[in-house]
Symmetry: C2
Subunit: 303 residues, 2 copies
């Protein structure tokens, strides 16, 4: 195996790593240049003129995952169908016309969603495969449930080393727009008691549009401090997600959920899972995505 | 009985009617002067210097309902507890210091909501009582379920002529902010097929944050026209409300739901209810609120 460039290019940010033959990170870069901020054609020049020189990657092969493979990215990498393991996905990598070294895109994943609609992901499939590869003998067998919190949270069911099925929830985006644009608008410091109150008010995760109004009613009728609304709302939305999504994947509550993420949000999900009777384990999103890109690069013979 | 002024003063608009002793409307006014747009103290001057002269109401008694009785209105009329009938609410009218004629505020209603939080309404209690009064011998007995669509939709359980319990859903507000500020943003003409598709995707009304993402996935993965997203989203949100809320009121699906409202939204709810096996009857919101204000004015001895 040789060194390679691992790149996670999402909607908002771009993260890249030069990874040596042993899998160690030798250089890293993070830029606020997500695909939602790129002009047409800008992805390629950013890659060739900025990323490659700054990571001193010369002609090393590169593998890119995330929204860079979407219609608003560099080039479209069509969705692979579920269930899918590393070998399935590696077969569907899309070659990029880059001036330096071979460069390939990881496809997104698609599975059946609600009432005949599909569900989709881009980027999280690489983290999920990377999570398996980090502990292959154990995670390569049996059923595991992963939770990847974010703007669009993903719950992923792993069976025998493959991504069997997944569900997306717009939890992070709902939190964001409700706090900015609704009758629940307002800021406030983290409040653990209000967060727990919101978690409990989530109930079975049903009737969310009604439960949301409790965030308003508790202030106007119950004299709760409006500065605690954001924490209550966070608990309510995360609680509703945890209450409803595992069941839709055919998983009963109270097992082990593996949370993949790097920020305070992952810790918040772990706390919420624990309060609802799950055993939560948090894993680094960065470690998982690098592991997944290395696995796919190896499967594809890129390194 | 004498003539009186009936006023429904909400967040966005103000509607007023001069109602004669027989209950007929003799004059009407509608102004875009909801309480969210008023400066401090402006409510009283608007009432005395604009409404009274324009409705030629002189010293007729006036009864006001809606958000005008909230903390951002003219004066606070504390919430009455459920269950409540016309006599209970009439006892809690709040007198206003108006320069011309007696004027009183209708209190809002409060009931138990989720996980110890309250639920609240202001204005809809008057419409609900008015709906009962329009057909007193029939509606004064038994159980009836009312649906009042809007920014904050209300589902109301009537038992033996009193408001027994209710639930609020932020359906209209969610539709609004999702269309304006989220990844589901965009406009499009009404599309009946996409509306029905969204209704079906609402399922049992659970996992709403996940079902919402299907509005995105059906476009990026299933090649549905993005111009149909708004109609799909409308169906999904209304469908989730209809699937989840009646059960929380202890009412099983498939009965008669009385929809109170004047606009296209009421017709949309009626269509959604019919598709989900309900018998829907639409009633004029204007007729109901005038009927309710007249009933309360009579109960309080104001007319």
């Amino acid at each position: 195996m040789s060194a390679f460039l691992a790149i996670d290019w999402g909607t908002t940010n771009l993260r890249g790593w030069r990874v040596n033959a042993d899998g160690d990170v030798e250089a890293r870069i993070q830029l606020p240049c997500g695909v939602s901020k790129l002009a047409k054609g800008e992805a390629q020049s950013l890659f060739e003129d900025e990323l490659i020189p700054r990571l001193a990657a010369d002609d090393a092969p590169a593998l890119l995952c995330g929204m860079i493979g979407s219609t608003i990215g560099w080039r479209v990498a069509p969705y692979a169908p579920c269930p899918a393991g590393a070998a399935d996905i590696a077969r569907l990598l899309v070659k990029l016309d880059a001036r330096r070294g071979p460069a390939m895109l990881v496809p997104g994943l698609r599975c059946d969603g609600f009432a005949g609609a599909s569900d989709v992901m881009r980027g999280e499939e690489t983290q999920a495969l990377g999570w398996i590869a980090l502990d292959e003998p154990y995670r390569g067998a049996g059923r595991h449930i992963l939770c990847l919190p974010g703007t669009h949270s993903k719950w992923v069911l792993i069976e025998d080393g493959r991504i069997h099925h997944f569900i997306t929830a717009m939890t992070g985006e709902l939190f964001d727009i409700l706090r900015k644009h609704s009758v629940l608008a307002g800021d406030g410091a983290d409040d653990a008691a209000a967060f727990a109150e919101g978690l409990d008010a989530a109930g079975r995760g049903d009737a969310l549009s009604a439960r949301l109004f409790s965030a308003r009613a508790r202030v106007v009728a119950d004299d709760k401090d409006a500065a605690t609304t954001a924490s209550y709302l966070s608990g309510l939305l995360i609680g509703a997600e945890i209450a409803a999504l595992p069941g839709l994947l055919g998983v009963s509550a109270g097992q082990t959920a593996h949370v993949i993420g790097d920020d305070a949000l992952a810790a918040r999900y772990a706390a919420a899972l624990a309060r609802r009777g799950w055993a939560a384990q948090v894993h680094s999103g960065e470690t998982c995505v690098i592991s997944g890109l290395r696995l796919l690069a190896r499967e594809a013979g890129l390194i």
